[in-house]
Amino acid sequence: MVTCEAPLLEVRNIAKSYGKGKKGKEVLTDLNFKLNEGEVLGIIGESGCGKSVLLNLISCLEPVSQGQMLFRGEDYTGRKPAYVCRWFQVIFQDSEAAFDPKKTIRQSMRENLKLLAGDLADSDRKIDEMVGLMGLDTKLADRYPRQLSGGQVQRMSIARGLVTEPNMLLCDEITSALDVSAQAMIMQYLYQLRKKRGLTMVFVSHDLALCSTFCDRIAIMKEGKIVEIGTPDEIMDAPKHDYTKLLLDAVLYVK
């Protein structure tokens, strides 16, 4: 069983550029990393460094310009999003926009199940279980997105991602638009999910302090390159790259 030995996700030398020739701009250069089963990788960087593009590439929402991506050793570069969405579910920053405003949360979730699992047998039980796992009352699933608070909608969108039992969650700045208290709630439920289900995650954020509380490894990105990757202790206590030091210096802790 060679495939079991392979990491869940491997990214080899991927690059992405927009435009061609002189007008072209390379936004990601030569990225390499591996992600093992059950691991949480934090990706930190400033606006425009290419963090979101990286997630789009991994989930095949955009084609790569160069390089390979492997899922358990299987090369899936150039596949359609519909092919990989049973493995990866992406959660975006603005979840209210990700739900159909004219459908209840439950109806939106059923659609996911119909597309990915094919049948709706047992759908209510699955939805209730996931909504409960995110610490929400199952009655809330029968509401419309606008009837929930920002933090609740975000937790619903995580529940929707999990309903189809993906191998991995790709989180793109999921707490950036929220209050600290709602953010802390989401982090707690994500932490419990990890403990209960061993979920693998890529957690994109610009908040180094937050990532250091939650991730197994943190990658620091600058201008389309990963400049440093390591455990939170390595990054926070002994940063090697100058840019990491700059970022660490700019974190404003409550004195």
Binding site: D179, S181, Q183, A184, Y191, D207, M236, L246, L252, V254
Partner: protein, 314 residues
């Protein structure tokens, strides 16, 4: 009390029937930086808008007064208000992309802004001001157009313009929330520097207590339209009295790399009249008397006010 720069007394603001701010009072001395923190929807931005003049936005000041430098500005007319905005009260919004025209140079837009406030625009002075704020390439900045700038730089250009107009009081509404951590730190340092050099007073609205702890002298915590705690920043952060303030502090990822602790539920945002404390549904210490006792900000320790002391560890 003529030595207070800004006094807000018993202010109540409504949008239609919705009560957004309920009986908020505090005072700012010249040269002070006051931060107001709280969740979205707690009325922090409305508070700033009340000082700026809120009638055009459809809100109504039902009760209370706002006094700037001894002068009551609560119900000023449009023309009178225009004379104090900019020159006496400066304002930096959260997103300054909308404050500048994207495709005209800063030079032209600075000139226009100064002229509309009956002030002369002096390029040399503007560049001096950029230098004082440590902007890179200060002599070329005015020739740029906003679309050529990063969000952080644009924000700083807006601050510089406010500085040139020379107000006594600066209002910042989440002025650093859209910025990256590195630009956020720079802007915070610039604001602190301005205060030290020019004796500015800043009313700073933020939901980030980390930012507040780095620049503020005083901190006010708002919850669902009420000021639940107010006092010297060190006293509030070191010894938070109100249960909500403690919850807010626990939700911030700290240096110890422990998972932050959240707060379940949402604040009552329906504008309903609350009898007693409006934090009751989310409070772990609440008793029956909390539901009926009227809201009142009390001085617990000298210079440190709170509306509730339940569960405080002494």
């Amino acid at each position: 009390m003529a030595n207070n720069l800004l006094e807000i007394n018993d202010l109540t603001v409504t949008y239609g029937d919705f009560k957004i701010i309920t009986e908020v009072s505090f005072a700012m001395k010249p040269g002070e930086i006051v931060c107001i923190a709280g969740e979205s929807g707690c009325g922090k931005s409305t508070l700033i808008k009340a000082v700026l003049g809120i009638k055009q936005l459809g809100a109504h000041i039902k009760k209370g007064s706002i006094v700037l430098d001894g002068r009551d500005i609560t119900h000023l007319g449009v023309e009178e208000r225009r004379q104090i905005l900019g020159t006496q009260i400066g304002y930096v919004p959260q997103n300054t992309r909308g404050s500048f025209n994207n495709i005209r140079s800063y030079d032209v837009q600075y000139q226009e802004a100064m002229r509309s406030h009956n002030k002369k625009f002096n390029r040399v002075e503007a560049i001096k001001c950029f230098d004082r704020l440590n902007f890179p390439d200060s002599d070329k900045l005015l020739a740029y157009q906003p679309w050529e700038m990063s969000g952080g730089m644009n924000q700083r250009m807006a601050i510089a313009l406010a500085v040139l107009l020379g107000p006594k009081l600066m209002l910042c509404d989440e002025a650093t929330s859209v910025l990256d951590v590195t630009s956020q730190k720079e802007v915070i340092e610039e604001l602190a520097k301005l205060r030290n050099e020019l004796g500015w007073s800043i009313l700073f609205i933020t939901h980030n207590l980390g930012v507040a702890s780095h620049i503020a002298d005083k901190l006010g915590v708002m919850y669902a339209g009420r000021m639940v705690e107010y006092g010297d920043i060190r006293k509030v952060l070191d010894d938070p009295i109100h249960p909500y303030t403690r919850k807010l502090l626990a939700a911030i990822p700290g240096k110890d790399r422990k998972l932050p602790v959240g707060l379940e539920g949402r604040p009552p945002l329906d504008g309903a009249e609350w009898e007693g404390c409006n934090f009751v549904p989310r409070c772990e210490y609440c008793t029956d008397s909390c539901k009926t006792r009227p809201y009142k900000l009390q001085e617990i320790v000298p210079g440190h006010y709170a509306s509730c002391t339940s569960g405080r560890s002494v």
